[in-house]
Amino acid sequence: MKRVHAIWLITAAVVAAAGTITLVDRNQVAAAPPAVGEVRPVHAAKDITLPLDRYQHSPADLTTIDRATAVLARQCLNDFGQTWAPPDPPPVPASTGSSRYGLIEHDQVAKSGYHPPESAPQQPEDRPEPTPEAMMIYTGKGTTSIGGKRIPDGGCLGKARRELERGVPATIPATELIRLDQEMFERAQQDDRVQQAMANWRKCMADSGYNYTDVWAANNDIRWDSETPTQVEIDTAKTDVTCRQRTKLVDTWLAVETAYQRRAITERAAQFDALDRGMQVRLDNATKVLATG
């Protein structure tokens, strides 16, 4: 009896230990930093592209989608007898590159330090103002019906957007993508390889008399919150960029985050495939609307 009991106990212990080892191994594999591929030099903000970027519509696609939305919303407003109609939106501006890792380009910081580059000034546009009633029907913020006609959920704008989503498979919600994006960014920043590059940057900066914990402390220095950049700001920013280049900080950061994002996408391959298909369906829907509208 005792012997049987002992054997059972030994067996249970072995099984439990094996289970533990399996769990530990799985956790270690999941937590292990991903292998980094090619470390490409980053000379300009345009060199920064990440795996998640391809799951966002391009500016040209967004322009098509926004214009199709306006066409559908106009048709809907017309059905309500409204004379006001949302105008065609202007083109979504082309990307000038990513500011994800902060300063990159010497020429830029020599002019403006940590201040963001000047945007082209907005041009006044003379467009007809909607009446409050038209705006209510357009946005759906108000009564649920007017003149006996039911206002769609979210107004004509909501209806237009739903029409463009027809056939788009349910997949990762925007909040989850934002969470994932930020989390990969943070994980990459905490990764030992980036931390080492950041330590090298810190030393490089300190050697020139600038003592910051990391690049964000330099970027967010409240002394830079002035109308125009001071000489101190410009000098700091120039040293910052020099140190980034000398330590290959941004090159390393981009390579490491690329690896984290690739792994995240692989782990959710089916969802990202659906996201990819959905983008094409949405764009096709919009193209058809513009062709017939």
């Binding site: 939106p89 990307s95 890792y101 934002i178």
Partner: protein, 145 residues
């Protein structure tokens, strides 16, 4: 393009509409503006802004001395946001100067609660939001709203 002429009269010296803090969040967010709120579902303190801003730590909710960003985890950091510009995306960045990780809010789009975006490494998505920009060209982040 945003219609500047019609807005100038409503804009204060600092480019911020001077709506009283009390009940401000209940007032509708006006066309062409970005509205940032300290609580979810467009409640709490409100900032109505026609312009891009480079540092939320340096600007305050309308009629108050409370900054939009008061450090990680502050309850009064921006928790919901509306983009009432019909023609412009707005990018929101996790650092000042329109830098760092970012996401976008589409024209006439709304984000009812940033705090629902919980990070597995700790904190909420609204912990570090620190600047915003109309018509962004340096953010390819997820589009919300």
């Amino acid at each position: 393009m945003r219609k500047i002429a019609s807005v100038l009269a409503a804009v204060g010296v600092a480019g911020v509409s001077l709506v009283a803090a009390e009940g401000a969040a209940n007032a509708a967010c006006r066309a062409d503006y970005a509205c940032m709120y300290s609580a979810s579902n467009y409640t709490g303190l409100k900032r109505e802004d026609f312009s891009s801003r480079t540092n939320w730590g340096q600007i305050t909710y309308n009629g108050s001395s409370v900054a939009l960003y008061r450090g990680d985890g502050s309850q009064l950091n921006v928790s919901s946001m509306q983009n009432r510009d019909p023609n412009s995306y707005i990018a929101v960045y996790y650092n000042s100067g329109h830098r760092g990780a970012c996401f976008r809010i589409r024209p006439n789009g709304n984000v009812p609660n940033f705090q629902t975006i919980r990070l597995s490494i700790g904190g909420d998505a609204n912990d570090r939001m620190n600047s915003h920009k109309f018509n962004p060209t340096n953010c390819t982040g997820t589009i919300y709203g």
